[in-house]
């Protein structure tokens, strides 16, 4: 094989065709590093054309030979690179954190339904735990739609924090809450959000984080358009295996979500 042919293969020219969102799409790791004690960031460049991801969509990210993990998109740039924020939870994410630039991962996606919101207004984005992963992508999208944005970010310990502002649009007002009281508001993200909600009327609220936080957010935002972005065990991502069913509802996170209106999933959140 000639040099030019070879180059074309690795730059993806040969692979430009209709790639399904459920095929394994090869992608090269561009960067992969720790953001804080808890969070890591990985940026990958797909070798083929992919469908443009939209906020809150996710990819199944395959660490070859180890595991395949559902990771929501934290960013997507003009050169087609996709960023994910993740935390090490098991062998799959540990292996992912060890991948050096230029190694390969496999992607399936983008999966899930994009978050559809009306234009403009004021919005509050509340996040806690690993829910921070899609927040940069969500806030950039809302900012581009003309929203004035306030963000609440809660963590357990101050050393989980990283420079979230540098990943967002730059127009958000960021409120930090820490449970160890080492920075910002002393307490839970949901409590800080409640106090903001009692003072200001928002046109839109988006919550991403643990179930308990989302349940309390849904209860504090009755009458406000509120979306919650959920996490569940996603195995197939196709709506076939049923592992991400949000009991006791019959909704599947991977094809119906991951964003839902509160009323669609309140029974699930209350469980």
């Amino acid at each position: 094989m000639g040099k030019s042919e070879e180059l074309r293969i690795w730059s993806g020219e040969r692979l430009k065709r209709d790639v399904s969102t459920h095929s394994i799409i090869p992608a090269r790791v561009v960067l992969n590093r720790a953001l804080s004690r808890r969070f890591h960031i990985i940026k990958v460049r797909p070798l083929t054309l992919i469908k443009r991801p939209k906020p809150v969509q996710f990819f199944m990210v395959w660490s070859p030979g180890v595991d395949e993990l559902p990771l929501s998109v934290a960013g997507y740039n003009a050169s087609g690179e996709i960023t994910f924020i993740y935390e090490i939870k098991g062998p799959g994410t540990r292996r992912l954190s060890e991948l050096k630039p230029d190694s390969f991962v496999g992607l399936k996606g983008p999966l899930g339904r994009p978050l559809e919101v009306a234009d403009g207004g004021t919005a509050l984005v509340v996040t806690g735990g690993s829910g921070v992963a899609p927040v940069p992508f969500i806030t950039k999208h809302l900012a581009s739609k003309g929203y004035q944005l306030e963000v609440v970010w809660g963590v357990k310990r101050g050393d989980e924090l990283f420079n979230l502002c540098s990943l967002m649009s730059g127009f958000e007002y960021l409120n930090i809450a820490t449970e160890d009281c080492s920075a910002g508001y002393c307490g839970l993200a949901s409590e800080l959000a409640k106090s903001l909600l009692s003072k200001t009327r928002y046109d839109l609220v988006v919550g991403v984080g643990p179930k308990k936080m989302l349940e309390s957010l849904c209860k504090a935002t009755l009458g406000v358009k509120t979306y919650v972005v959920l996490e569940a065990i996603v195995k197939c991502g196709l709506g076939l295996c049923g592992s991400c069913v949000l009991q006791p509802t019959d909704r599947l996170l991977c094809v119906d979500g991951p964003a839902f209106k509160c009323e669609e999933v309140i029974e699930y959140l209350e469980q």
Binding site: H22, P26, D67, L238, L240, V245, D250
Partner: protein, 310 residues
């Protein structure tokens, strides 16, 4: 034989169980929990087939468990993940509450396990039992049973002889499929489900590894379809049994082909990953109805096996 009614009669029956139309899901698509049954019912299917239940819960394989192929097929190795036989009664109960016939897919690694899962399912009120004799990717739980006609006979006989519920044997592609089909019928199966997925694998050329965590899996979707048509055709020609046809049904044409080959009911599997499964089912039924009327028949079941006409 023209009909004045606007819709053709798409009703059918499998082993004496009446179905309002011919479509059900293939086992493995949802069907492990009551909520899954509700979802399948909302797709508009005439019956629900459960995920294969085994005696003990099985976690199944880790992801990747499924991928879509360049040739628009699917490859899966889920590993018979299921909550175990203890969860069968609540799944069956949900089907009953929704007024839908429910066929429990029964798995096992020994004859005794098949019998145990079958008897719990029958006691729970299952309308039909589908013996999974052909899972291609789980050792000791399927194809290694179903490709040996004497094993097929043994398992089917053991279940059918104690079961008060009609037994359907689900077989896959093997060198012996006609013989296995014959043995299942001889052992007391009232119908056959043909066919299961076919063993296949995919290797990623960048990371240089097989993609599925189980290395190999079962091929489904459109690439399976012409093979399923052939197996249904061959088995119908040999024994004319009641057949539930399954394999790559994505529209009314692929369903109609299986009917002409000899199937009186149809299962839809991979295609339920469509964006709108409810619309998919509606369009398959709509197409079948137009087809039956256009040929000036009244009932879809009048067309079962017609491809065999000389």
């Amino acid at each position: 034989m023209s009909t004045l009614s606007s819709e053709a009669d798409l009703s059918t029956a499998v082993a004496g169980v009446k179905l309002k139309h011919v479509l059900m899901n293939a086992s493995g698509v949802l069907g492990a929990l009551p909520e899954h049954v509700t979802r399948l019912a909302n797709y508009g299917l005439a019956a629900v087939v459960t995920k294969t239940f085994t005696k003990r819960p099985r976690e199944g394989y880790g992801p990747p468990i499924i991928l879509r192929l360049e040739n628009i097929g699917f490859l899966n190795a889920v590993g018979l993940a299921n909550p175990g036989v203890g969860a069968v009664p609540q799944v069956v109960r949900r089907g009953k509450e929704l007024g839908l016939p429910i066929m429990v897919s029964v798995g096992g690694s020994t004859v005794e396990e098949y019998v145990e899962v079958a008897s719990v399912s029958a006691d729970a009120g299952a309308d039909l039992l589908e013996l999974n004799l052909s899972c291609p990717h789980t050792m000791g739980y399927g194809l290694d049973v179903g490709s040996d006609p004497s094993n097929v006979f043994e398992v089917t006989k053991a279940v059918a002889s104690v079961s008060k519920v009609p037994v359907v044997a689900k077989l896959g592609l093997s060198d012996n499929y006609i013989k296995s089909a014959g043995k299942a019928l001889e052992a007391g199966a009232k119908a056959l489900t043909l066919i299961n997925t076919i063993r296949a694998m995919v290797i990623d050329v960048y990371s240089l590894r097989p993609v599925l965590s189980n290395v190999f899996g079962g091929l489904s979707g459109p690439p399976l379809h012409p093979i399923a048509v052939k197996v249904v055709y061959d088995v119908y020609r040999e024994f004319s049994p009641e057949i539930i046809g399954v394999g790559g049904v994505t529209n009314w044409v692929t369903a109609a082909e299986l009917v002409l080959a000899g199937a009186k009911a149809i299962q839809v599997g991979s295609a339920l990953s469509s964006n709108d499964p409810r619309e998919l089912i509606r369009s398959i039924l709509g197409g079948l109805s137009e087809w039956v009327k256009g040929l000036e028949y009244v009932r879809l079941t009048d067309l079962v096996g017609l491809a065999h006409r000389k």
